[in-house]
Symmetry: C2
């Protein structure tokens, strides 16, 4: 179940879609995989056992948030992130690159790295490829992401090209820093590169090739799901994925809605993370087999039926839509707890459905049920 | 386990303290019992299964809150409060008398009842003995409380006497209204009277005698824990309890801190409810075998030890004080979930300890560990 060497075994293909298993020091990850977001060392409103019960094999943690509070060195002194948050299975950490751009104030980017102010207390901070990898080592992350620059879209070809080139130099430095971790520290762990290049196909290809020259354990596609139309995201994947190694996991960062995930799986993506199921749950919204429901809506006030007749999570098995409407309206914490649980279960059930369909060579048919009627990708929903 | 006739069996005595079992249509209640407060059809931040896991036999629901949102008739149409909130064991409901006084605006009290405005939307509402009992019937409450007037303390003897006399007339009307429920509706259920009279011993005695003349399935002591010193509360119990029937359960409403509960058990009280464990949990405070801890305190930032070494709840078994400090500071929902769970477990463990000590004739010795250093009772903590 646990592996001293990080590896990826493809087990089935259906067109470009694929299903397999990632082996890590902390256990196996079935792909395509959805990673719930545990920003501040908690998947919001969920007990760790409950997250596992939904079917999650791996969580995502945020370097940016954890470095600011409670601090990476502190977490290391307390035995690492897994012990700290009571999640013994794999954890992937991002490098902080995205949040530095989206959350912090007074950023100053240089070749060396990024100086910025904490969004919590204005404290001066610094992130670089070396520091981002050091933080991820201190956290004990199983899959560590290179430090990259995430430019806002839309931007010119020249601006994106310059940013991508910087990200590639930072990727090399990140890989080198990962390589300097001890054998014991790296056992069963991985470092992933991140393809940048906006929605420009030529830049994406160059970025993918540059990363593969460096050589990573897996390849992520970053800088998408930042407000562009779903079609632009899919076109970018069409241009990028064929240039990524077949035998390494591919991770589309910060994605997405169910239809985004299905479309990306069809294009050969293996891993996803998104705050949408957890954040929507806290906002009274549920993903169901009957579509997205807003439980705040008065039409649910006397609806004695289950939230989703196709689901067996506690919200569906043990409460009614009327109860959920009541606790959402009353602002009760149980509303966030039940709807988050349900939404995470919905996402994990979708991943299981996709894996099964790939094994049975019917993923295209499954995908028709999720055809995109929800464009564009919603800015700000994709990352915490 | 479930009973068609509500009854109370005393099983052990130790001085004035006693332990027994209350039999109801929805199951047994071991006494002395602590009832977690489920104000708005949820014990805040807890799944119903988790509440049961802490050892709770019975919950308290609030007539005032539920009548305003989602409404008693609505809950009845949805199958009753037990089904609505997914708690199949006994529920005691208060009558709304306390909250009408503490929460609503523009109250107008007459012999008939109380006109008031909802604190949620200003809607005009009315509560009377008959309406309070009707609401409790609609909710399907197992133990229904008479409608009473809760005067603010301090007040003159004359004012409290007048208010108590009104409460006694309302108690008779409440009992009559309960008697008009069908045999099926009342099977295995109970109606409790509430002793009033402030801290005046003579009024408490008269109130206790008036209620016993009417005849109830149990007797509550109301109007305490509203800011008076603990000694005044205990003196009032000393004056009141000897005048309450030995063979009926006795319930001290809205109490309290651990030392309040222990002192009241020594004086012959069988049942308690209080928001303190749940509200404190949401505020970052924990009751532990080492005293009350404020997890917000910086001294816990790197404390790798368990919250309470004497406890086996999820907060204690699976997280550190450092983690709890972090999630409290970050305002994460998991902080409320873990600390509420722990505090409810602490209270239920205390009740179990008291029951055991009564059986073993050593409750006085146990009580020495909880001698009151925490006076006075905190106003506003005692009721939601």
């Amino acid at each position: 179940m646990t592996a001293q060497v990080f590896s990826f075994a493809l087990e089935a293909r259906d067109g470009a879609a694929r299903s397999g298993v990632i082996y890590t020091a902390r256990g196996e990850i079935r792909t395509p995989a959805f990673m719930p977001v545990g920003t501040a060392a908690t998947v919001k409103a969920m007990m760790p056992d409950s997250v596992r019960e939904t079917g999650a094999d791996i969580l995502l943690g945020n370097t940016y948030h954890l470095m600011l509070r409670p601090g990476a060195e502190r977490i290391a002194r307390l035995g690492g992130l897994h012990k700290f948050m009571d999640w013994q299975r794999p954890i992937l950490t991002d490098s902080g690159g995205f949040q530095v751009m989206s959350l912090s104030a007074l950023r100053k980017i240089s070749e060396d790295g990024v100086k910025f102010q904490s969004h919590i207390d204005g404290h001066a901070e610094f992130l670089s490829p070396e520091r981002a990898m050091e933080i991820q080592r201190l956290l004990g992350s199983d899959i560590q992401m290179v430090f990259d620059e995430c430019p806002a879209l839309p931007a010119t070809h020249a601006a994106i090209e310059k940013s991508m080139a910087l990200s590639m130099r930072w990727a090399k430095r990140s890989k080198d820093a990962f390589g300097e971790q001890t054998d014991e520290e790296r056992a069963g762990k991985a470092c992933f590169g991140i393809v940048q290049g906006g929605t420009f196909a030529d830049l994406r290809v160059r970025s993918a090739e540059a990363l593969q020259e460096i050589g990573f354990d897996g390849y992520a596609v970053g800088g998408l799901a930042v407000g562009e139309p779903q079609s632009a995201m899919f076109e970018t994947l069409d241009a990028t994925v064929p240039h990524l190694s077949q035998d390494r996991p591919r991770y589309l960062m910060g994605v997405g809605k169910p239809s985004d995930i299905v479309g990306a799986v069809l294009r050969g993506i293996d891993m996803f993370d998104c705050v949408l199921p957890t954040r929507s749950g806290r906002n009274g919204q549920a993903f169901t087999s009957e579509g997205t429901l807003n439980l705040r809506n008065a039409r649910f006030a006397e609806d004695a039926g289950p939230l989703d007749p196709a689901c067996d999570c506690p919200a569906c098995a043990r409460s009614s839509r009327a109860y959920l409407h009541h606790v959402v309206k009353a602002g009760e914490i149980i509303a966030a707890m039940l709807l988050t649980w349900h939404n995470l279960k919905f996402y994990q059930d979708l991943m299981q459905e996709l894996r099964q369909a790939i094994f049975e060579s019917r993923v295209e048919a499954l995908a028709l049920r999720y055809k995109a009627g929800e464009n564009p990708t919603s800015k700000g929903e994709s990352c915490p």
